[in-house]
């Protein structure tokens, strides 16, 4: 117990222009969860990639059970009992669960795959760790939470003793997080060591035994669970005290800005991904859509932002049907969009920040002259102003977008979409993978927009975000909004249950006590009071 399972000493790693890890020391004992927290770009992933043999450190040493080792590639890391669940899943969608687990560690006779043996071994691991998945299912057909189980099974199958989880909860529902933590506790009992990276401090405080804070590549401090509090961690991360609350401005909710009527959208696979959605958003109001990913929310937002084919229904902006309008016309009419996949739809990664900030307005004066020739100076001046106003951390406005950390890339998008002064802001997962400082900032920007009388449609898998920003909340399940709540009349738990479907929600409510309906009403009234003061 006294020799750590893992010890990393004096790890330094430099990328062109950044010192990503600066003499970092980090250790992990068997049977503990050690959380690693820090702002975007602090160097967490880099440190873990070094451990996993994906990057080689410029200097530093790694010990496993007291023995110095060199890890040149992932194969060696696996050999030393290190397993990693990556920030972006490393699965092959068209393959089965079983195939995904065994790739690289196949059982075979003369090169011919043997599937029974590994299947039995995996079933045993599933039982032991509370990680049940259908082995014959294809990855593309199972939800994100189960895909993550496959990732965990993959590393347990390889006999990992040290398990690294890089932001595993970013894509999970509260219930799935709960299940994941159960698995963590199982694994702890079996003497495994777990490294857990997350931006959600509540989760960190719930599961971690020790918490290490890293800032700008340097270890700031390692806290015991007992001494850790949310404000303390936040302060260590950012380097100054952080307000962990958003100020909700008092605004009069005005006229209806967006109205969606009986919207249906057919998916390429043939069923209705959006299956009859009705709701509206008013000016000065934040309408939150809560739901497990893949229940039609992405398609819904896409249909409002872009001219995708719809099967039925209408989308009305300020009294006018926009379903036949192209994207430019919609934007000019006052729709802004923070897309969920910032790399694919939000940014042109090789382009400069200045260019990214003027996208969508790039064809208008003053950014072009009458001959449609770009006015570089106007673009740069505009960008400088926005960078200042939105506190985007970048060496210059001409830096390419890919060189920014995730949080700052997100700020570029938020800044651009808000400087268009929209009537309607569509915000999809606006803070996914973004650190607390940037999250706080983005939340405040959304609240400002609300204060200025803009209508905001917020889609998020993060229930805390939905709860703290929204005025009204619609729960989407299998393409329909199955319940709509006033923020003040509901609780996080209730929303969480509805996210699993009506039936589930009623079952849970029924189990809670006799006369479930009344109970829920009581609870709602109860929480209503505390909700207001928050």
């Amino acid at each position: 117990m006294n020799v750590p399972l893992l010890e990393m000493k004096g790890i330094t790693k430099r990328f062109p222009g950044v010192l990503a890890n600066d003499r970092v020391s980090f250790d992990l004992y068997a049977g503990e969860v050690h959380a690693l927290v820090g702002e975007n770009g602090a160097g967490k992933t880099t440190l873990m990639k070094i451990l996993y043999g994906l990057y080689s450190p410029d200097s530093g040493e790694i010990f496993i059970n007291g023995e110095g080792i060199h890890i040149k590639n992932p194969r060696e890391a696996i050999h030393h009992g290190i397993g990693m669940v990556h920030q972006h899943f490393m699965l092959i969608p068209p393959f089965t669960v079983l195939e995904n687990i065994i790739i690289g560690e196949e059982s075979h006779r003369a090169g011919i795959l043997k599937l029974d043996e590994p299947a039995n071994k995996i079933r045993e691991i599933m039982e032991d760790n509370n990680l049940i998945v259908e082995l014959d299912a294809r990855i593309e057909n199972i939800p994100v939470g189960l895909q993550q189980r496959v990732e965990i099974l993959k590393i347990l199958y390889r006999g990992a003793e040290i398990l690294v989880f890089d932001e595993p909860t970013a894509v999970l529902t509260p219930q799935e997080v709960h299940e994941l933590f159960k698995t963590f506790r199982e694994m702890k009992k079996r003497g495994k060591g777990i490294i857990f990276i997350s931006h959600k401090l509540d989760e960190v405080l719930e599961i971690a035994d020790r918490i290490t804070v890293i800032r700008k590549g340097k270890i700031i401090r390692t806290l015991e669970r007992k001494e850790a509090t949310k404000p303390l961690i936040a302060e260590l991360m950012v380097g100054k005290p952080v307000l962990l609350e958003v100020k909700k401005p008092e605004v009069k909710v005005g006229e209806v800005v967006l109205e969606v009527k009986d919207l249906r959208i057919k998916s390429p696979r043939g069923y209705d991904v959006v299956a009859g959605v009705d709701f509206n958003v008013r000016s000065g109001e934040v309408y939150g859509i809560a739901g497990v990913e893949g229940n039609g929310q992405s398609e819904l937002v896409e249909a409002i932002a872009e001219d995708v084919p719809i099967k039925n229904g209408d989308i009305i902006l300020m009294g006018k049907s926009i379903v036949r309008w192209d994207v430019r016309r919609r934007r000019e009419a006052g729709i802004s969009h923070i897309p969920e996949d910032r790399h694919r739809y939000g940014l042109l990664l090789p382009f400069s920040i200045a260019e990214n900030l003027t996208l969508g307005m790039h064809y208008r004066e003053p950014f072009v002259n009458r001959l449609q020739v770009m006015n570089r100076k106007a673009i740069r001046d505009f960008a400088k102003g926005v960078i200042e106003k939105f506190d985007i951390r970048t060496p210059s406005e001409m830096t390419p977008a890919h060189a920014l950390s995730g949080g700052n890339q997100q700020k570029v998008i938020v800044a651009r979409e808000l400087s268009a002064e929209p009537k309607l802001l569509l915000a999809s997962q606006p803070t996914r993978g973004v650190d607390i400082g940037a999250t706080e900032f983005i939340h405040n920007q959304i609240m400002n927009a609300k204060g200025e009388g803009r209508a905001v449609l917020l889609v998020s898998a993060d229930l805390d975000e939905i709860m703290s920003l929204s005025d009204r909340i619609g729960v989407i399940y299998k393409g329909r909004i199955i319940r709509e709540f006033q923020r003040s009349e509901t609780t996080k738990e209730e929303i969480g249950f509805y996210m699993m479907g009506e039936k589930e929600a009623e079952k849970e409510a029924g189990e809670g006590a006799s006369g479930g309906g009344e109970e829920r009403a009581d609870k709602a009234a109860d929480k209503g009071g505390s909700g207001d003061e928050a």
């Binding site: 994906l54 092959i92 195939e99 690289g104 795959l113």
Partner: protein, 291 residues
């Protein structure tokens, strides 16, 4: 038509399909590993020259086949070095190799036989079976073998992994570059088989007549699957056989009739749009994490 005529149509169709089908099978391996190989056409030009040359020189068509397979693998290896190691665009490399191969075969023919556009006839031929080249019949076991290798072996699973998500393959400790090299080389080697069934008795400049491209079309139509690719090749091959056997009996100008298999390819591919799914990382060079 009479019964013997029908059987002849069947085996002749197989013989005519075989060069396309072998190349298409090879292409499945290349693309499943993530490398688009449009150099098939050029590789086929080189292998069909090599089989004639080596057969005459070594007085054995079997040795001719051996060297054709080697030559095909070698050209494919160049494609692999350029696209996998040096990450040059795969289409650009393929086009360059096609142009290079076209010239190379003519150059060698001039050097070896003193004639740029054709070689003398090669008297060493494969045995006949049912009146056609017996190597054509190998197609059936080789197709089944290819299917088995791709779906039932460790190598096949890993090859497909690399074509879908090389980054994931890397994190699992697979050798991404090695697997891609292997996939591409298999496609070159299979062009040696194409040469054995195309026209091993003589090499004439232009004799491949776009079969490498038809093979690519067949592979796509066959949904990147060995059995599918072979069936699609048979469709094209039999369409061509039908044309050859009945061309003179149809009252349309022969140029139009000759276009038939190609038009079929275009129509079939146009109808496929959006339905087939290529391996996710097909055509994309893989750059390891750090650089």
């Amino acid at each position: 038509m009479g019964q013997s005529m029908f059987i002849f149509f069947l085996v002749k169709g197989l013989e005519i399909s075989a060069p396309i089908a072998f190349a298409a099978l090879g292409a499945v391996f290349s693309e499943r590993s993530g490398v688009v190989n449009i150099a098939l056409e050029g590789i086929m030009i080189v292998t069909s020259f090599t089989i004639v040359w080596a057969s005459i020189a070594l007085q054995s068509v079997w040795l001719g086949l051996f060297f054709a397979v080697i030559a095909g693998s070698f050209i494919a290896l160049i494609h692999a070095v350029v696209t996998v190691t040096f990450k040059v665009d795969q289409i650009v490399s393929g086009v360059a190799l096609n142009i290079f191969a076209f010239g190379l075969a003519r150059f060698l023919s001039q050097k070896v036989f003193g004639q740029e556009t054709q070689t003398p006839t090669n008297p060493y031929l494969f045995p006949q079976l049912l009146g056609v080249n017996s190597v054509a019949f190998w197609l059936i076991p080789i197709a089944i073998l290819a299917w088995f290798v791709l779906y039932r072996t460790v190598f096949g699973l890993r090859l497909r992994t690399v074509g879908e998500n090389p980054e994931a393959a890397d994190t699992l400790g697979l050798n991404v570059y090695g697997l891609r090299y292997t996939g591409v080389i298999i496609s070159g080697a299979m062009c040696g088989m194409s040469a054995a069934t195309l026209f091993p008795s003589q090499w004439i400049s232009g004799m491949t007549a776009g079969r490498g491209y038809i093979a690519l079309a067949a592979m796509i139509f066959g949904r990147w699957d060995p059995i599918g690719a072979v069936l699609a090749s048979l469709l094209f091959g039999y369409a061509d056989t039908f044309r050859i056997m009945f061309e003179t009996k149809i009252p349309i100008p022969s140029q139009f009739v000759q276009m038939f298999p190609y038009i079929l390819a275009v129509v079939v591919l146009a109808g496929m749009v959006g339905k087939a799914r290529a391996p996710a990382a097909d055509g994309k060079p893989y750059i390891k994490g750090e650089d």
